[in-house]
């Protein structure tokens, strides 16, 4: 009995002394999809950060003899029927004399076993750490021994490696713009909501104006105005940064709304009457109250940036080959030829869907958790 009550009182104590963050975390953990999504997002970022090591091949290695090869199956059973260490079989290609289409058949006789931390051609991690090992590969690399788990593209490049490499750009390049938008949005939205009056009017009318400008023409204009000869990634980055200068309006409205609501909260008035300075009221009392909302909206705007990158690349306004991003990979796959003959080139689309889903659920969970004192 005493044990239990001791335990209960501990529990009670821990609840009573739980900070907003801990309460939010507890609430977040109840959102199962969000938790799974958190793991997925984490995994994706690990892939992106260690892309060179995680991908079986260099993303632009061309395999002249394996153009548009289908995904290679990992076998666990020998040709003879015995259980085997996981292996892949060599592919033999053949071109249809009439349709000129390449088709591949597995050579059941050849067997290339797989291993973790497989040897590879030397390469450099992040451009400066020389390595000769990759996370997964063929244990004894030799000519013709390939492991294209998600197939190859029109130049015989490994789709899996390209997706992993693309993750690095797709998951990161918009972050700068998103971050900048948020900083501007929070500052201007905060000013608008906190001071009200003419500041509010000015900011609100500016927002109306900026929101009415269509993005695509602006993007096109900027893309053309950026001086030539730049690295396409730099160009894209420059444009996202420029656009974030006008893209802060959404978050500014949110922040303004929160400020307006919080300004009326009793605890803010209480703080003022307790002699708190304006800056302390904002930083110590108001900001923590909506920081979690901001983090949730931030999380929700990342998938939008990923989707925007794919759409812009599709329109030829985003990144372009040889830069590797999911948008670029999808643009390459955007043809009936691919859908009918090499559907594995659509797998980057799956990567986009999974990532966007994960971020959305994560954001959803964070939004629920952002108000740990709410009733739901």
């Amino acid at each position: 009995m005493t044990d239990i009550s001791q335990h209960e009182s501990d529990l009670l104590k821990s609840y009573a002394e739980a900070s907003g963050f801990r309460l939010g975390w507890a609430k977040f953990r109840k959102h199962k999809l969000a938790v799974v999504s958190l793991y997925i997002v984490g995994f994706l970022y690990i892939l992106a950060i260690f892309a060179e090591f995680m991908s079986p091949y260099h993303h632009s290695d061309i395999n002249r003899r394996h153009v548009l090869a289908p995904p290679q199956v990992v076998h666990f059973v020998d040709h003879g029927g015995g259980v085997s260490w996981p292996y892949v079989r060599e592919l033999k290609s053949e071109r249809d004399p009439i349709t000129r289409r390449l088709s591949y058949v597995e050579d059941v006789e050849t067997k290339h076993t797989l291993r973790l931390f497989a040897p590879s051609e030397p390469y450099e991690m992040w451009g400066f750490i020389p390595l000769e090992t990759r996370f997964l590969g063929i244990s004894e690399p030799k000519r013709g021994a390939t492991m294209f788990l998600l197939g190859t593209d029109t130049l015989g490049r490994d789709v899996l490696s390209r997706i992993i490499r693309g993750a690095r750009i797709s998951l990161s390049i918009g972050l700068v713009g998103v971050a900048l938008s948020f900083v501007i949005g929070i500052v201007l939205g905060g000013m608008s909501g906190y001071y009200g009056g003419w500041v509010d009017t000015a900011v609100q009318r500016t927002i109306d104006f900026l929101q009415s400008l269509p993005t695509i023409p602006l993007w096109m204009g900027l893309a053309a105005a950026v001086p030539p000869g730049q690295d396409p990634i730099v160009t894209y980055l420059m444009i996202t940064v420029i656009l974030s200068i006008i893209g802060w309006t959404g978050i500014a409205r949110v922040v303004r709304g929160r400020f307006l609501a919080l300004r009326e909260e009793d605890f803010v008035l209480a703080a003022r009457i307790s002699g708190a300075s304006e800056i302390r009221i904002i930083l110590r009392h108001m900001v923590p109250s909506f920081a979690s909302h901001i983090i949730a909206s931030l999380t929700l705007s990342i998938p939008e940036m990923i989707l925007a990158e794919t759409a812009l690349s599709f329109l030829g306004l985003g990144l372009q080959s040889p830069a590797v991003s999911w948008g670029v990979l999808l643009k390459d796959a955007q043809s009936l030829q691919v859908i009918s003959q090499a559907p594995w080139l659509l797998i980057p689309g799956l990567a986009v869907v999974i990532t966007v889903l994960a971020f959305n659920f994560l954001g959803d969970g964070l939004r629920d958790a952002s108000d740990p004192y709410g009733k739901t």
Partner: protein, 337 residues
């Protein structure tokens, strides 16, 4: 419960206080007096007394509380506070950080114990906030003061590290009181301090007010719609209707012999054990809007005794022989109650 009122000096004097809110009318016209939330109230709060400001919701008493506590700047009128160093502080003219001087002496207790405490701060942080801001104490010293305050409001010192979500409404209100007491104020304004609480809890809080008043020599200004609270706590009562004070008197006098028909109607709505025979006066119509005040006496559309005079001329508040004040053309005499 009555104290020797004549002996004490006024702590707070309010004269002709007005707060109007503006609104646009038509294209370019902006009427800065469209909503007359507080329309010229005068009131004196004497040191050591509990003064109550009573009225229905929407009568402007909350706005009055905000004006007096310096949270809102009045449109016109005077609020003068005698500070602890004896000087008179013109509250109505205070703006921005200058108001900090006021809050060293005047503190506010909020109606909603849930929203008035920052959910992201511990009780210690909440109560230490004024200590820190007014430079009274920091660190260990502050913690000791907080523990002392908690003890004073009837909470255990282990509450210090907890967050507001761990407390009940009554307990939270105690925390709020502790925070208000931290600066050792002279005037505590309670804006419906118990209306959000259960009856029994409310009674406990009111008792706490009483004991604190006793121990610390506090002066209260209670803003409430609940006459039963007033009867048990207040020394003087001022009744507000549509932005104006219609009657003011000592609690006993007001309850026994209301002069204004509105006061009478309010009192008749209070369940009373002593006066079972009393007839309930039902007010016809609805409270008029502060946006569109009736001409003459603001109360006339609902007043059974209204005359043509009431419809045309706004009655001025007049002070009676025994210090009572009433604003009515046709005040009730004792016989009619």
């Amino acid at each position: 419960m009555q104290s020797a009122t004549s002996m004490t000096s006024p702590l707070l004097e309010i004269a002709n206080l007005k707060k109007h809110f503006g609104q646009s009318r038509g294209l370019f016209k902006y009427d800065p007096h469209a909503v007359r939330a507080v329309n010229g109230i005068s009131l004196t709060v004497k040191e050591g007394e509990t003064t109550a400001l009573v009225g229905e919701s929407g009568c402007g008493k909350s706005t009055a509380a905000k004006l007096i506590s310096g949270a809102l700047a009045p449109t016109s009128g005077d609020i003068r506070l005698r500070t602890r160093d004896g000087t008179l502080l013109d509250v109505a003219t205070l703006r921005g950080s200058a108001r900090k001087k006021l809050w060293r002496d005047v503190q506010l207790i909020f109606q909603d114990p849930f929203s008035s405490l920052n959910p992201r701060m511990t009780v210690r942080q909440i109560i230490a906030e004024p200590l820190r801001n007014f430079g009274i104490a920091r660190g260990e010293e502050a913690t000791m003061i907080v523990a002392d305050l908690l003890d004073r409001v009837g909470l255990q010192s282990n509450a210090m590290n907890r967050y507001p979500h761990a407390f009940s409404g009554g307990q939270r209100q105690r925390i709020g009181i502790a925070r208000a007491l931290a600066v050792n104020p002279r005037l505590v304004i309670g804006d419906e301090p118990v209306s959000a609480l259960d009856v029994s809890v409310a009674a406990q809080i009111l008792n706490l007010f009483q004991s604190l008043k006793r121990d610390l020599g506090l002066t209260y200004l209670l803003i409430t719609h609940d006459l039963s609270v007033v009867r048990h706590s207040a020394d003087r009562v001022a009744v507000m209707y549509l932005g104006q004070i219609v009657e003011e008197n000592t609690t006993a006098a007001l309850f026994s012999a209301p002069k204004h028909p509105y006061t009478h109607a309010l009192l008749s709505a209070v369940p009373s054990h002593r006066e079972k025979e009393k007839t309930r006066v039902v007010l016809p119509g609805e409270v008029a809007s502060a946006r569109n005040l009736p001409t003459g006496c603001a109360f006339h559309p609902r007043c059974a005794l209204a005359t043509d005079l009431c419809r045309k001329v706004t009655p001025q508040i007049t002070t009676g022989s025994n210090g009572s004040r009433v604003a009515c053309h046709t005040p009730l005499d004792e016989a009619s109650t």
